[in-house]
């Protein structure tokens, strides 16, 4: 059902229009004065300036792979992330760790691990499902490239972004 909106009755001052303009200019000049004096700062000059230090701990940026404190690849290529990934951005090619390797006991590792960052939706399901705490969404959000191929993060790139995480998974340590 249609209904009528009552327009407010304007006073003469409001109808005259100019006082409001002047009022607005007063506020603008007030800010301008503060800017000149350097009292406020409203614009951040991205990318020269970034807000990265303010990102919360739970921020979900690009997924990365991490190594443990013994320089072992945490990932054992169980492919759970590949399975859970909603946009199917992850492709893993597993391989057996050769018996002369220091970590031969772990038996399996990824030969190649690719995350297509064009497909990735930063949902964090891979991090949640990982039984080895090997994949983490870190604070890298500016993922760019000039070709589609460049947007695919391979194993080397993922470890470069991920770095080292100590603790949490101890089952492959010598004592256990």
């Amino acid at each position: 059902m249609a209904y009528v909106v009552q327009r407010p009755e304007l006073t003469f001052k409001e109808k005259a229009y100019l006082p409001s303009i002047l009022n607005g200019l007063k506020i603008t000049f007030g800010h301008f004065k503060k800017m000149i004096k350097g009292e406020t700062k409203v614009t951040m000059q991205y990318p020269e300036e970034k807000w990265d230090s303010q990102l919360p701990e739970h921020y979900r940026g690009a997924p990365t792979l991490v190594k443990d404190e013994h320089d072992r690849e945490r990932c054992v290529a169980c492919q759970m992330c590949e399975f859970i990934c909603p946009p199917r951005a992850i492709t893993i090619k597993p391989e057996e760790i050769p018996s002369d390797n220091k970590f031969a006991k772990v038996e399996k590792r990824p030969r190649e691990f690719e995350i297509d960052m064009i497909r990735c939706i930063y949902c964090g399901m891979c991090e949640e499902v990982c039984p080895e705490q090997a994949i983490y969404l870190r604070k890298d959000y500016a993922i760019n490239g000039l070709t589609r191929a460049e947007m695919v993060h391979n194993k080397a790139k993922l470890y470069e972004l991920g770095g080292v995480f100590a603790g949490l998974v101890h089952k492959w340590n010598p004592e256990k």
Binding site: C78, Q79, M80, P94, E96, E107, P131
Partner: protein, 544 residues
């Protein structure tokens, strides 16, 4: 099968979870429960093997009929015998049903027993699930979800055992994961008749091992991997290649010999990863030989023929299919009356039916290339052609091979159509082939005949096409598509249809189902059948 002299099967009344049912005497309790839709969790029990009763997972509550002092069953108010329940749980795998027996498969005591057994089995089991190949089809995982607890109360150190032990060329053992059900030992002893496996060491250090002087190299060794309920025995070939939950499982049949074992093929994104036997009592039971199950690598070979080839080449680009077919038809017509066809016993019935039509249209001599090996007395037949019976039924296996060879040599045959077979393997030399006016070949991989072919048409491997085959015992079985053929390779029957089309005009066949229908109409043994009516387990037909 019942004969007049056979004793009638005695049925006994058994109460399972309160319901009275009848089973033939001699049925194991676990089997009776399965038939009554009550699945009892088990590890060591396997319907094809003896029951050692060592995993204790199949514990159920049992009872026998209550007896009066003069040994008559006490009859309850419902007219059925009353049951005196045994106060402790019994294993259902090592007990046959008997008259008036009662079974409780899900009572509180049974549930408590299963929980306890599960906890014991998991005490020393490593947390290998992320890397274990069995994960996803592991009975330990399944029953742990159903009957186990989420957390372990075991705080002590787990027993360490050897991991990644090569028991033989195709089987790798992880002793830590083993629950010592002894299925593999019993399989090797009772089915493969090669008693190489056993348990060594004592107590918690028990582990599976081969005889010190022997390795597990029997041609049926990979069946131990199939029946292993956990990830202790793994296939060295499939190990760490792909997680099982990614595999698309397709039911088809083995084409390595005349037995036609039923198989399940696991593939992902058009790549075949493994082949496992599929249960079919009429053909292969639940086993298959290693040599056959590992013979799938050629399907993904980079050597595969992908595009039609004509010699001499027309221009820069290869010919289109239509150009290649036209050239083949032209070459065949040019040599009308002097054409011979080398057919294949690896072809499906549908293909062979079209081969016969082609041969009739051309008045050509036709025969299949024989392929024989040594029978192993189990599941490998001496005839390594999977469809010799079909070729005989459809009149393609004529025994004219000698005449074809002689004809080529004396010049009375001037054109040869080789359908998926290398003619040089049957007495023809490369010089003989070079002498011919035209060689038309279809194949999946290059060989000496395809090298000499004037027209070479790429076709599909057995895993890439649909159709039917008849094994040596006369069982008609279906072949299903698992992966798609590479490049522009086509189904064999389509190529044959196009050749016939070029030579005789229309034949109105547009799908492999229609080819089967046309074949069934002309072949009395296949009357009334369609491709879909064959089903996954096949049907017996009477061969003339």
């Amino acid at each position: 099968m019942s004969t007049e002299t056979a004793a009638p099967v005695q049925m006994v009344n058994v109460q399972i979870d309160g319901v009275w049912l009848q089973f033939p005497k001699g049925t194991r309790v676990i089997e009776a429960c399965r038939q009554a839709q009550k699945l009892i969790p088990h590890y060591c029990y396997h319907p094809k093997l003896s029951s050692p009763g060592n995993c204790r997972m199949c514990l159920v509550e049992m009872g026998m009929p209550k007896m009066t002092p003069d040994r008559n069953p006490v009859v309850g108010a419902d007219g059925k015998p009353e049951i005196a329940w045994i106060p402790r749980a019994q294993i259902s795998c090592a007990q046959d049903v008997s008259e008036g027996m009662g079974v409780r498969t899900n009572s509180p005591m049974v549930q408590e027993c299963r929980k306890g057994v599960m906890e014991f089995l998991l005490i020393n089991h490593p947390l290998d699930c992320p890397i274990c190949d069995q994960a996803g089809e592991c009975k330990l995982q399944e029953f742990s979800v159903e009957h186990g607890t989420a957390e372990s109360r075991f705080l002590e150190r787990k027993v360490k055992k050897p991991k990644s032990v090569e028991l033989g060329p195709r089987v790798t053992l992880d002793a830590e994961r083993c629950i010592l059900c002894t299925r593999c030992i019993r399989f090797m002893k009772e089915v493969a008749n090669d008693d190489v496996l056993g348990i060594v060491d004592r107590g918690t250090f028990n582990s599976i091992s081969t005889h010190p002087d022997r390795i597990l190299d029997h041609n049926y060794s990979l069946n131990t991997v199939d029946i292993c309920p956990v990830g202790a025995l793994t296939s060295s070939d499939f190990r760490f290649k792909m997680r099982v939950w990614f595999l698309k499982e397709s039911a088809t049949i083995d084409t390595n010999c005349g037995t036609g074992s039923n198989i399940t093929v696991g593939s992902r994104e058009n790549v075949i990863y493994r082949i496992t036997p599929r249960d079919n009592e009429a053909v292969n039971g639940c086993w298959m030989p290693d040599s056959h199950r590992l013979n799938f690598k050629y399907v993904g070979s980079p050597e595969r023929l992908k595009e039609p080839v004509i010699r001499p080449q027309l221009g820069e680009e290869g010919p289109t299919w239509q150009q290649a077919i036209n050239l083949a038809v032209e070459a065949i017509k040019r040599n009308a009356g002097r054409v011979a066809i080398v057919a294949s016993g690896r072809s499906t019935n549908e293909e062979l039916f079209l081969v016969k039509r082609l041969a009739t249209a051309l008045g050509a001599k036709v025969d299949i290339l024989p392929r024989s090996g040594v029978a192993d007395g189990m599941l490998i037949a001496a005839d390594r052609n999977p469809n010799t019976s079909g070729a005989k039924l459809l009149g393609v296996a004529t025994g004219q091979f000698g005449e074809i060879v002689a004809g080529v040599k004396d010049g009375s045959i001037t054109a040869l159509i080789a359908l998926g077979e290398d003619a040089t393997k049957a007495g023809l030399s490369e010089e003989d082939l070079a002498k011919l006016d035209a060689v038309v070949a279809t194949d999946i991989l290059p060989n000496k005949t395809t090298a000499k072919a004037d027209v070479l048409l790429p076709v599909s491997a057995p895993f890439e096409k649909r159709g039917s085959m008849i094994n040596l015992k006369g069982r008609l079985q279906r072949l299903n598509r698992v992966v798609t053929a590479p490049g522009s390779a086509r189904d064999d029957w389509e190529v044959l249809r196009d050749l016939i089309l070029g030579i005789t005009g229309s034949n109105g066949l547009h799908s492999v189902e229609e080819v089967f229908k046309a074949m069934a109409a002309e072949t009395p043994a296949l009357a009334g059948l369609t491709l879909s009516r064959i089903g996954d387990l096949g049907v017996d037909i009477s061969l003339p």
